[in-house]
Amino acid sequence: MDNAPYNFYPVWDPLLRVVHWWNAVTVAFQVITGSIILIFGEEIPDALSGNLINMHSVVGYMFAAGLITRILWLFIGPPSASWRDLLPLTAGQRKVLTDTLHYYAQFLKGAPPLYMSHNPFAGLIYAVFFFLASMQVITGVVVLNTPEDLRDESALLAWHATGYILIILYIIAHISAVFIHEFVERHGIIGSMIHGSKTFTGEEWKELTSQNP
């Protein structure tokens, strides 16, 4: 690791950061209330169960609001928030994608791949998450609008529960990857989702901007 000074360079726009934390908080709330409903469903008194479902529904709508905003922002937001930044469309993005997979396969040995905003491998996973989260919203709304005595028999409730497990797996993978990349790459990716700037050495920044003028 060289001792070149690291500087802050703006990467994430304010709206993307607000939506990110909005979605993070609402998803966390949904996972907690969803887990209580799923695990202790039969044992919870009716009144409390009704309140839990109401809270889960209200926050579910709030999450849906964040999700629709992020999806629209993929198309009208700045380049670092764009769908073009998520998907490996260019040769450069595909190279970083294969380098990242190679880097993981070698258990993080060697130099980590360099990228400015989204890692193309993470971008692909986020695209899958957007789809999965949209399915959770749709199945949740349909189940909520199903008469109460028919809800338990609804196939969509089973789909909603499967989506819940996949989202928990996504959260574990996302948080683990963020911490691993934070400590290995030293680009300040956790802080960047708060203040918007990543840290790069001058040379790294020159290399990145020459790739993406």
């Binding site: 726009d13 304010p14 709206l15 607000v18 909005w22 709508y61 709030m62 849906a64 609001a65 964040g66 629709i68 905003t69 629209l72 922002w73 009208i76 937001g77 700045p78 919203v137 709304v141």
Partner: protein, 187 residues
């Protein structure tokens, strides 16, 4: 997409939704009042019969006929009321409100100091909200296109997102005006 589209859409949409009042609601209201009067009369007859064990209720006024008439009348009244509330609560009330919301949002967007693409996002959210919420209620309630109700959820979520992020936009985009003296232009 800086708010102007929302204002233009809002006024035209308001004309369409406000029109439902005189064109559809008021005539139905009259018919509904007549059904209510008819229902009250026939229900009164049943109540009278209940008080005296239907003594003297014969022929055209036999208990079965009177109770049958009352049941049909109550059903008709309920059906009319349901139609009325489908129009009044759906496209008329929500449509008017969302048209006004688009006008207000448009005016606010014109004055906010936020990036152009953030304005575009809010503008799209409010337009999508109105079209997919009260717009779909309009198709279902006025034109009987029941499939349209399935899409109202998109409008609900878009409106919710528009309101929340317009609040955030207001936090960062409403600036205190700086007087020429504060700018140092006046001595």
């Amino acid at each position: 997409m800086n708010g102007k589209v929302n204002i233009v859409f809002g006024f035209i949409y308001l004309a369409m939704t406000a029109l439902l009042g005189p064109v559809l609601l008021v005539p139905q209201l009259g018919a509904n009042l007549k059904t209510m009067g008819d229902t009250a009369q026939v229900v009164d007859k049943v109540q009278e019969g209940l008080r005296n064990d239907f003594k003297g209720f014969k022929g055209a006024n036999s208990p079965n006929k009177v109770i049958g008439q009352a049941t049909v009348s109550i059903f008709n009244f309920t059906k009319n009321s349901k139609n009325l509330s489908l129009l009044a609560g759906g496209p008329h009330a929500h449509g008017n409100l969302e048209a006004l919301l688009n006008i207000a949002a448009g005016v606010v967007l014109l004055t906010l100091a936020i990036p152009a693409n953030f304005k575009k996002l809010l503008s799209i959210l409010f337009l999508t909200g109105a079209v997919f919420h009260s717009g779909m209620l309009y198709l279902g309630g006025v034109f009987g296109m029941m499939w349209a109700y399935n899409f109202t959820i998109i409008g609900v979520i878009a409106l919710l997102a528009g309101l929340v992020f317009a609040g955030i936009a207001s936090i960062i985009g409403i600036k205190q005006p700086v007087s020429p003296a504060e700018r140092g232009e006046l001595k």
